[in-house]
């Protein structure tokens, strides 16, 4: 007789499928990272370890420019989106329900529901008109567009954090002679800080990763790293793209790890 207890949650083939799925998810990513250290210039022919392509990418002014632009846009957009999302989250939680609250909530989350290509086309047309009216061609359009689609990503963790906070804390502060501003400054804000940090990190990652909207909104010479890579895919690929991808990947993983650590701390 089999000396094994009956595991109720076990289903035939599920564990095998799951492990295969995880392998399949990571195999392409590891391959990509692996070939970024290839010494040769042909993508999938291994010619020994080298940091050659990182050096080449670093010395390529176009790549460096795109990298700087990506970081600048992501930093500005996440700062703007997080600030506005924090205000909106405070406005739509921790107070008695008011008329239009649901509408505000739906409007803020709207970018999550519209296909990116549609928003991209809309911004192409709209910003095109503004560009020809004002003559301004700068990075402002990209920052504005990125800020907008980052708002819901910043809003959700901040709102979640606010809703998890004990409502009586601000009441207690008011009871102890804190003005509404003092209560916000000394109680709400410090307690909300992890949520704001999480929101800012998500917004940063989302902005850094965007391809479609950036591709449609950018003016000439305003490539970000992702649109630069998309352009490169048309030509013969070199491991340089792997090197850039790996760098972006590392940045994303670092930010996400920080996000999870910050979020775990609250429990």
């Amino acid at each position: 007789m089999a000396d094994r207890s009956f595991e109720v949650s076990r289903l035939p083939g599920f564990a095998f499928t799951a492990v295969t799925v995880f392998l399949a998810l990571y195999l392409p990513i590891f391959t990509l990272v692996f070939f970024s250290f290839n010494a040769g210039s042909v993508l999938s022919v291994w010619q020994g370890w080298s940091l050659r392509w990182y050096v080449e990418a670093w010395q390529n002014d176009v790549v460096k420019g795109a990298a700087m632009r990506s970081l600048l846009i992501a930093a500005s957009a996440s700062a703007i989106a997080t600030t506005l999302a924090t205000m909106a989250a405070i406005g739509t939680t921790r107070r008695r329900r008011f008329r239009g609250q649901t509408a505000i909530y739906a409007f803020i989350n709207q970018p999550l529901m519209v296909p990116e290509i549609v928003t991209a086309v809309a911004l192409l047309i709209f910003f095109g008109v503004i560009k020809s009216w004002t003559g301004y061609q700068g990075l402002g359009y990209l920052i504005l567009a990125h800020s907008a689609f980052c708002v819901p990503f910043a809003y959700l963790p901040i709102r979640a954090r606010l809703e998890g906070m004990d409502l009586s804390l601000e009441t207690a502060a008011a009871d102890l002679y804190a003005s509404p501003w003092q209560a916000f400054r000394h109680v709400t804000l410090p307690l909300l800080a992890p949520g704001i940090a999480a929101g800012a990190m998500l917004a940063f990652v989302i902005s850094l990763d965007d391809v479609v909207i950036t591709e449609f909104v950018k003016s000439a010479g305003q490539d970000t790293l992702p649109t630069y890579m998309l352009g490169q895919l048309r030509r013969t690929l070199t491991p340089e793209v792997n090197a850039i991808s790996t760098a972006l990947l590392v940045l994303t993983v670092l930010l996400l790890t920080a996000f999870f650590l910050v979020n775990r701390k609250k429990d």
Partner: protein
């Protein structure tokens, strides 16, 4: 003498202040979203009813040519309308690939989500983190990573050739299959996460009850588990289907120039196609389809609250 029953002034003031502050605090975000996300959609709607300009853009004359052009094309010689087969092919490919993507991600994602949800708590957090990383990783990078596998000289072909399964490299790139593999790969986490959330809430004691009442493993799966986690299945399916339908990057990278989906077809109208009204009409049409899918999702999600039968 008692005062008439009314809202006292102080109470009234408090209520109005709450409403005013709520709107004031939300206003900057709403304005930003209106300028750079929702508002421009209205312009797209307007553009869909204009006449194409000669060198792109539009000329400001009312026309339904954009909307008509979705399904029909005008014959160059006798000016009659006939169904645009090329367009229909693109729509059919988009719908077909999106449905297949949804089916594949469900078939792979359900066991994965179940596996994660039945791990001990610490291991579960790690597995969940592992599924979340690809979710947040750049879509372009992930698409690019999958090309390294399925290219003619990619890992897949190398392995298959080495073990002698095939004699010549499989030509997967620039086919519908490539797009399908790519979309399943990039959207899989979108299926797993809501499924996990639903399974995580699932009361495992129900399984004991099922087995106790003589159900086999497959019967328990079919009659107990799947009906109860249905909201998660609906959520995951919508979350995969919607972005698949509007996909742009994956078909562009993996499908080559020819295997276009709606997203690429829309872009084409604003580029070489020089038919902005058609592009605008296609965008609005796509938006409507997506909204309808969302509506079905909301309906299905709220229906769970009402008793069955």
């Amino acid at each position: 003498m008692s005062p008439p029953p009314r809202l006292s002034e102080a109470e009234d003031r408090q209520r109005r202040a709450a409403t005013r502050n709520g709107w004031l605090l939300s206003a900057p975000a709403l304005v930003l979203l209106f300028i750079a996300a929702s508002g421009p959609l209205l312009i797209v709607l307007v553009y869909s009813f204009l006449t194409p300009g000669k060198y792109g853009d539009v000329s400001w004359e009312f026309s339904t040519s954009g909307w008509v052009g979705i399904l029909f094309s005008r014959d160059i010689f006798d000016d009659t309308l006939k169904l645009a087969d090329a367009h229909l092919t693109i729509f059919w490919r988009s719908v077909k690939l999106s449905l297949l993507t949804t089916a594949i991600t469900f078939a792979l994602g359900f066991p994965t989500a179940w596996f994660i949800a039945t791990r001990p708590p610490k291991a579960r957090a790690l597995w969940l983190f592992l599924i979340t990383i690809p979710f947040w990783t750049n879509l372009l990078i992930r698409t690019f990573a999958i090309t390294e596998i399925i290219r003619n000289e990619g890992i897949l072909n190398k392995v298959l050739l080495a073990i002698g399964v095939i004699a010549a490299p499989l030509r997967i790139m620039n086919t519908d299959t490539a797009v399908l593999i790519g979309m399943a790969y990039v959207y899989l986490p979108l299926m797993v996460l809501p499924l996990f959330a639903a399974i995580d809430r699932f009361d495992m004691r129900l399984l004991e009850a099922g087995y106790d009442l003589y159900a086999s493993r497959m019967q328990v799966l079919r009659h107990v588990i799947l009906p109860i986690v249905r909201p998660g299945i609906v959520a995951g399916s919508i979350l995969v289907f919607v972005p698949s339908l509007g996909a742009y990057v994956t078909p562009r990278v993996l499908g080559g120039g020819k295997n276009m989906m709606i997203g690429n077809f829309i872009e084409l109208q604003f580029g070489q196609g020089r038919n902005w009204p058609l592009g605008a009409a296609l965008s609005i049409a796509l938006l409507i389809v997506v909204m309808l899918a969302m509506l079905i999702y909301v309906r299905a999600a709220t229906k769970e609250d009402t008793p069955h039968g």
